[in-house]
Symmetry: C2
Subunit: 407 residues, 2 copies
């Protein structure tokens, strides 16, 4: 007998029929002798409906009250799923984030989990009950309802699995696993049966939106075995594992990418200590998240060029902030490009194998794709290209590194 | 400065516009220097939507989970109303039933309030914040979410007012006060500026659905001054007060009535001790609520006739149960009538004034309305008549007792 934590996202519980299907699946696991804790999201569309309602009243909703409002979404789902389980004679009991005592800090709308009282539900599990927990939400020390931000249900599931010392945390989603790249772009993309935590982190943060990056970090930190699988099809999915477990994985796990990026460059910045922080400080203060950062050597020796990427939505504001900074720094000019995309090659094998980067650049060059920016880490190489080359670039790299399903 | 508890029902918070209107009203009270606690229901239609969702999954929803589901309705409203208040610069903070620590017993779907931790919100009130509380819901000793049943928000408001020792509990609804009878039936019905608790209890239980009877009982028990007023119009509404306060009230407060009643009679029941409980025991076990009970003397001396009324929805089941009992008791026959209505004259003045009942019967006789059943208490006289005579009977009594607005 093992203890399994399963998480079902909004699409998987998006209708009465789908909730019934989830109940059937959960009950089957229980009948196989497992203890099951189910973590659920709000029914798809519900969170957006609530946000629209809030915005109709307050254009920038008070964060504390927004959490009170949004938390109802998952509360509806836990009640309905518990009913669906009881209807098929599978005893179940629901828990809100507050009832499960999912303690978070007080950062409303983006709270972080601090502690979970696992003991609370052990009696239910021992009595053979399925425990159904509201994902995405918690409670702070003074009893205020908090939410973890979009996609937080994955994090809830992993944190609960860690607190209960579960044997596996299964994330059910609308894809059947992690692929070498997005199959919508490269139909020959191959499903990985295993991937390391580090690779998964890079894949997730780079736009393969299968799992929330915070959930993967959490799983890595607490060593929770994590599996991604489909709530609509049968299959083993993809197991996210620790590097030492990996015996014979390919050097490259996959190719991640991000659309909707924008690039900003300050030309002719005085090349002095502290310049980078003087540029990025005001950007961070404006709550704009920065992705890649590259500092180039400029033509003359007294100045340098400073480039970074942001989400395309943040581009206009970032450009405005940067104009101001450029004036203060006596920089020459601010350039912006809203039509870029990022392609990344990810794999732990990269560490020990030289030549991966050059092979990547060659494959892109063969397709006449101009590289606008490069950034590397231990297990990934990212390039920025014109947005229109995104699909071509992904497919070229997929083939060059032998990731095709037929390979 | 006084402390006011205000309660707004589902219609009053049924849309974004109406929530904004409630916020404006609440903020005005606060600006006049009052401390304000607002208790709200779910937006109109929301509770029914949730119940339908539940029934689509489980025809008889698990009571514990139904409460988890339904409690989201008020939770949405408290968040939205708090946002609406903050939007007009009125500081506010929302509380769910659990957060406010509204402790109830564990009778899901019809829980009763045991205790409220008033201290919890005193700091907010002292800081000048409006406190917005979810009505209709609470939490039991082990942290399970409970609901008080339909209309429970009134009870929540009164209980909170009692716990906080509020100066007044104001129930905002879609009518502007308590009338001598339903103005839809008698256009000359007059609004009462005051009514006693006892009269209000009879009026409420007899079908003048302005206030939940449990809320009135609670208010009477804890001596909470209660006022019913309109959320859409200005006005003083009706104050529900204690008898000793009443100086010169008319003898008759008003005329209540109930449609949707049904009558059942067991003819020829052996006239022995314990027969009444042998008849009503199985009815109660079938969860059927009985309203009026009358036992008539039968034609012969060995047997008697036993009659009671139930809600029309319960009639088929009650009739079935009664057939069984009648067989066991060797009763002669079971009669049923689904087309009856009840009309009641209510007033504390009745106690000291003989002749009220006969005046009532005479007024009905004048209109050729046949009385099928009579039942009296200290402050009311109720008669059962054919349903088709309901309106005629109400109007006849309204005039006979001088209740018309022009009178």
């Amino acid at each position: 007998m093992s203890l399994i934590v399963q998480k079902y996202g909004g699409t998987s519980v998006g209708s009465v029929e789908r909730i019934n299907a989830v109940a059937a699946r959960v009950a089957a696991w229980r009948e196989q002798g497992h203890q099951v804790v189910v973590v659920v999201s709000a029914m798809s569309g519900e969170t957006n409906r609530l946000i629209e309602l809030a915005k109709a009243i307050q254009p920038r909703p008070a964060p504390r009250e927004l959490d009170v409002l949004l938390a109802t979404g998952e509360q509806v789902t836990i009640a309905l799923l518990s009913m669906a389980l009881e209807q098929i004679d599978c005893p179940a009991r629901s828990y809100t984030g507050a009832q499960m005592n999912i303690l978070t800090n007080s950062a409303h709308n983006k709270a972080r989990i601090r502690d979970i009282d696992g003991a609370r539900v052990q009696a239910d599990l021992a009595a053979g009950r399925v425990v159904v927990v509201a994902g995405f939400q918690g409670v702070d020390e003074t009893g205020n309802i908090t939410t973890l931000g979009r996609g937080g249900s994955d994090t809830s599931a992993v944190a609960i699995a860690a607190a209960l010392k579960a044997d596996e945390c299964q994330i059910y989603t609308d894809v059947d696993g992690v692929y070498t790249t997005d199959p919508r772009i490269e139909p020959r993309a191959r499903k990985l049966s295993r991937i390391t935590f580090e690779e998964m982190l890079e894949m997730a943060s780079l736009g393969s939106k299968v799992l929330q990056i915070r959930a993967v970090e959490f799983a890595g930190k607490y060593r929770v075995p994590l599996r991604v699988l489909s709530s609509f099809e049968e299959g083993e999915g993809t197991l996210i594992t620790f590097e030492e477990d990996v015996v014979e994985e390919p050097k490259i796990a996959g190719i991640a990418f991000a659309r909707d990026e924008a690039k900003l460059t300050v030309l002719g910045v005085p090349d002095q200590p502290g310049v980078a922080s003087r540029i990025l400080g005001p950007i961070a203060e404006a709550n704009i998240e920065v992705d890649m950062i590259v500092q180039n050597i400029a033509a003359d020796e007294a100045t340098t060029d400073f480039t970074f990427t942001v989400h395309r939505n943040d581009f206009p504001r970032a450009f405005e902030v940067l104009q101001e900074i450029a004036r203060e720094l006596n920089a020459r000019q601010v350039l912006g490009d809203e039509r870029i995309a990022k392609i990344s090659l990810v794999g732990v094998g990269m560490r020990s194998h030289a030549g991966i980067a050059s092979k990547m650049f060659a494959a892109l060059a063969k397709e006449k794709i101009n590289i606008r920016m490069i950034s590397t880490s231990e297990i990934k190489v990212s390039v920025v290209v014109d947005e229109r080359y995104l699909e071509l670039g992904v497919r070229a790299l997929h083939e060059a590194f032998g990731l095709d399903a037929s390979a």
